[in-house]
Subunit: 215 residues, 2 copies
């Protein structure tokens, strides 16, 4: 019985890590196999050897960087179980803000890109990976919204919480890519600490939610 060579797994890993980054930076189409293999210190044939195709590597890269990011920044922001719903909301937002600011975290770039121009390859992985987040959010919002609120309002608020975070997301990512932004955006990035941003964001959202509650 032969033992499997381990150096093959190493280059596989190197390719995966490099792919995460390159795909996040350039997108599926603009990222060339050569860019990835070169960044991984491997030959471009090794991509097809280890992953079968560029498409499959893309899918694997997403799963990999999502898993890594979620380990580092859990959805709930490690807030204790018995916290108030308000604290939990802050936890979600803060965790998300940290996640998107971390230059070694790439999953949100994939999400954003696929929203704007879908390759169609990540439809299923997204659905699967984000299910726990959706569930957590729906529970949290059910708690925040009074019992008067129906499914309609619940869904609206879920959309809003995510949308709220998209604003900073786009700007922080832009900055991370080294692109300049219009002056009023620069102001935000300069004046707010991440914690303050999360706090202001959570409060803004909470006020909106309470407004729906009071109707």
């Amino acid at each position: 019985m032969k033992r499997r060579r381990t150096d093959g797994l190493e280059t596989r890993q190197d390719i995966l890590a490099a792919a995460c980054k390159v795909f996040a930076e350039k997108g599926f189409r603009d990222a060339r196999n050569q860019d990835i293999s070169k960044a991984a210190g491997a030959n471009s044939a090794s991509i097809n050897y280890h992953f079968g195709s560029k498409e499959n590597l893309y899918i694997e890269a997403w799963k990999y960087c999502f898993t890594k990011a979620t380990e580092k920044y859990p959805f709930d922001g490690d807030v204790p179980q018995d916290s108030t719903a308000e604290e939990k909301l802050y936890g979600v937002v803060l965790s998300l803000i940290h996640r998107m600011s971390d230059p070694e975290t790439y999953d949100l770039d994939y999400l954003h890109r696929e929203m704007a121009s879908p390759t169609g390859l990540l439809e299923e992985p997204f659905f699967e990976c984000l299910l726990p987040f959706e569930e957590y959010m729906l529970n949290l919002l059910t708690e925040l919204l009074g019992s008067k609120a129906g499914l309609k309002e619940l869904c609206f608020c879920r959309m809003m919480v995510v949308a709220q975070c998209m604003g900073p997301l786009m700007h922080i990512r832009r900055q991370r890519r080294g692109q300049s932004s219009p002056p009023h955006v620069e102001v935000i990035l300069k004046e707010y600490s991440l914690e303050e941003l999360a706090k202001t964001l959570a409060k803004f959202t909470l006020d909106g939610i309470n407004g729906i509650n009071e109707r």
Copy 2:
């Protein structure tokens, strides 16, 4: 003195109109010159004849569809000058919602795509075209926020108003492309009329803004 032939301008126009749509649907990279020229009923060489390059056509297409969209849906939503700031906010949001729901309006697709994965070609045109909107929004928000609020809060709110609209934007566009969405998104698209969505959205934002005011 010779008069200019007019049939050339016609195909130029046809190409421009076709390009607007094809670029919006497929993005810069995935749209092929042939797709566009075929949709315009012209030869692919005519793109380079009339526009010089694919890049330049892309820029022209953006300017064209932005101008057309803004004529149809002005930023202020045609709200009377002497309206309250709250009514003006509703006007902005409603106009934006209508704009993004109109299947013949494409400019927001460009915006969204370039946010997520910039080609770098529209940086300048965006800045130029959106300046009036920025100005209008800043004035409006200055009115809504009390005099206590500083530049920092102003910029934050500006970001939030736009971000709020991104949520529905993404979902409505998805629907328009014929892609299915997770159940809680379908609920929103089914249960809310455009006017109700705009109203709820404006109220949500307004509550957030007032929350900042009261600090």
